[in-house]
Symmetry: C2
Subunit: 426 residues, 2 copies
């Protein structure tokens, strides 16, 4: 792989040509309409009827929903993936989104015993173990502590896990859709721990969920006192039930399984608990039978969402917008590279939108497609200097037994007809 | 009014006392539970039953919805305010939100002929008038231009309009709820105008909506070429129908009426059109019968959302979180002041969360309430140095005939029982 400052990969006219116009976009109007006119061109009015009648009023939808024309934009699960939908996952439709915020209704779900329907009046959060003063907080108690607001991505450690053994799933919703990115409002966990008073031998915390799976994970006290939040709002409103309503733990940059939902207890201890979810699960089995443990931080990663198998190019050659997400559990994403020829030539993508710590970033590459076949890939650089590896580079170190923490570069083959497929390139 | 660096308004203990603990928050546990334990305190398990059964699976809600316990968190309209809900407004429940993002389902609605149900396949955007090459764009055409992402507030010019003549509506949802704040994805209007080629005498643009009201507003070409967006996504997903699906104009910092929804045409002209919405409406009638016109920019403003009439203090005295929003159509909000005694003493609030240009900002004041009556107010300072005025200061200049552009300081009286009312102080 090489970096060129002025590359011209196969299939691409220059950026200059793009900005100069490339192929025309937008149809020319009939001459009459070009004059200063109070009414639009007949080509528009004949097509449309919604200016002929009154629509629904402001009392129709106290809580709004998407347009009927967007019914295909939904989370999707894969029936054969798990034995039962109550211990399963569905996927965010990344290819239908833009910007960096995931709307709450489309945030992927992962639960181990279904969605707990918690009554906030009966919600309690206990802090116990190695503390001076064990405490139980009601929701109202939590609302009396100073709050913070942060945008963070949450990525399941198993996101892209099926791709370790080669191209498996045809669409970024399925290969990379176990991720979402919202603005959380919550109380720093540090403040609650200080209220209880952590004893000097308190070195780990164990958050526990109130659902039937009673999810638990061991977290070092340093992380708990650093940036963890006990969150009750996402994107301004109450957490959604499937995201832990009324309160969940936020563990910025770390694997999603640790962000315990329906949070009812935080125990302080002097060593990790070695529970199921950090021994038989959420560990990385290497060649030879040993396993990586406590691989909490999510490595830098990126994915091209458009074009992709679920979002082909339908407009033919000419001006084309390629776009996607990049993120890192260790900081921000100052740079993303894109290739259109399977890694022979790389160009720097345009970053747009807010750059927050441990948040999704949006990148674009605006180019003039000459209609030839493309092999598109993206490569994230994070603020620590780390560069997203290829899948083969990951396999060389970790073998092919692993499920978790696949942050390898993804490839889509875009055919001349604009259709895209999930492929592997060496 | 005065600024004190270390004030101690009536009704408030010091911030130091707050941080040191103030009154205890959170109940003490029974002794047994304080030990390292695998199960929570019986006080919790006896209260809760949702850990005893499996919940809904990942196939239950392809597009998610809020908890049943949040059914009261909705947009609300006021029946007596307008003759018909198809030409009316509803209000964002500001007192139920936190952070700075408004979730799409709760963004207030204002339409003049109901919600147009536009088929995106039949959507067209025409650019005509004083251009070299009149054009018609399909949605697919628009998606081929380079995109940007920005968080902007949209405020109706009539927000708080009822309050000109004194305290009228009891709740910030009604006094200040004609505002929302989302991340937009769209194409700079400049790029579309450049594609058509604006003639040298093209000095104004007239965006036009495709609904039955055919909404139009005159906008100077300088603003059109500066930061206006032709937007198709909000908070990551497609615009909601009531917000102009599939495409609306975004006019950052300017009054909401100009953000034409269901955008079907942009005409370029050499002078303003003087249409209904910029003559008989959206002008400010002064004493003596003259009117301010073209008052586009929204002045700096703020509102305390909690406590407020719809969100009383229910926990009694002790630690209390006061919070609210501040914003300016001219930039950012570096500072908000808060008073608890009707303006005798002011303290600087804590800003938290992202500070974007022409976006809502979140402020907090964490204090230890001694249980005495409060008169709470907030006062925004924007990045131009402008300071939010009192209502009386506004009335002295603009009289009491106006409906639009009331950015005066709002007052809530909080009684000893925690209930709050909309009041005026001089």
């Amino acid at each position: 792989m090489s970096d060129n400052s002025d590359p011209k990969p196969a299939g691409v006219n220059s950026r200059r040509a793009f900005l100069k116009g490339g192929l025309a976009v937008g149809g020319a109007l009939a001459g009459a309409a070009a004059a200063r006119a109070g009414t639009p061109d007949p080509a528009i009015t004949e097509l449309q009827e919604w200016n002929q009648y009154l629509g629904d009023g402001v009392d129709a939808r106290p809580y709004g929903t998407p347009s009927e024309y967007e019914k295909h934009v939904v989370r999707r699960n894969v029936e054969w993936l798990t034995a039962d939908p109550v211990s399963s996952v569905n996927f965010t439709p990344l290819h239908e989104l833009d910007g960096i915020i995931t709307p709450n209704g489309l945030c992927f779900e992962r639960h181990h015993a279904g969605i707990a329907e918690v009554d906030p009046a009966k919600q309690r959060l206990m802090i116990n173990g190695l503390v001076d003063k064990p405490l139980i907080f009601t929701m109202q108690d939590l609302m009396r502590f100073p709050r913070q607001n942060h945008v963070y991505f949450l990525e399941c450690a198993a996101n892209s896990g099926m791709e370790w053994r080669g191209a498996q799933l045809n669409g970024c919703q399925y290969t990379h859709g176990m991720i979402h990115n919202v603005m959380y409002t919550g109380v720093p966990l540090r403040l609650l721990l200080e209220e209880a008073g952590v004893k000097t031998n308190g070195k780990w915390v164990l958050p526990e969920g109130a659902d039937a799976s009673a999810m638990t994970r061991s977290i070092p006290i340093e992380k708990a006192l650093d940036d963890c939040l006990v969150a009750f709002k996402m994107n301004g409103e109450a957490l959604r039930p499937e995201q832990g309503y009324p309160v969940r733990l936020v563990v910025p940059g770390w694997e999603g399984n640790m962000w315990v939902k329906w949070l009812r207890r935080i125990e302080v201890g002097d060593e990790p608990w070695h529970h199921r979810e950090e021994t038989s699960k959420y560990t990385d089995l290497l060649e030879g039978g040993t396993a990586r443990r406590f691989t909490w931080e999510m490595d830098a990663k990126s994915i091209i969402t458009n074009p992709s198998p679920q979002a082909p190019i339908t407009h033919g050659k000419g001006r084309t917008v390629l776009t996607g997400y990049a993120w890192s559990g260790r900081g921000t994403i100052p740079r993303v590279d894109v290739t259109l020829d399977g890694g022979k030539n790389w160009v720097q993508a345009r970053m747009d939108g807010p750059s927050f710590d441990k948040s999704l970033h949006r990148f674009y590459f605006d180019f003039d497609w000459d209609g030839r076949e493309l092999l598109v890939q993206s490569r994230a650089h994070d603020s620590t200097g780390y560069v997203q590896p290829t899948k083969d580079e990951l396999r060389a170190i970790r073998g092919e037994n692993s499920i978790y923490h696949n942050n390898g570069i993804q490839t889509w083959l875009v055919r001349e007809n604009g259709q895209a497929e999930n492929v592997e390139v060496s």
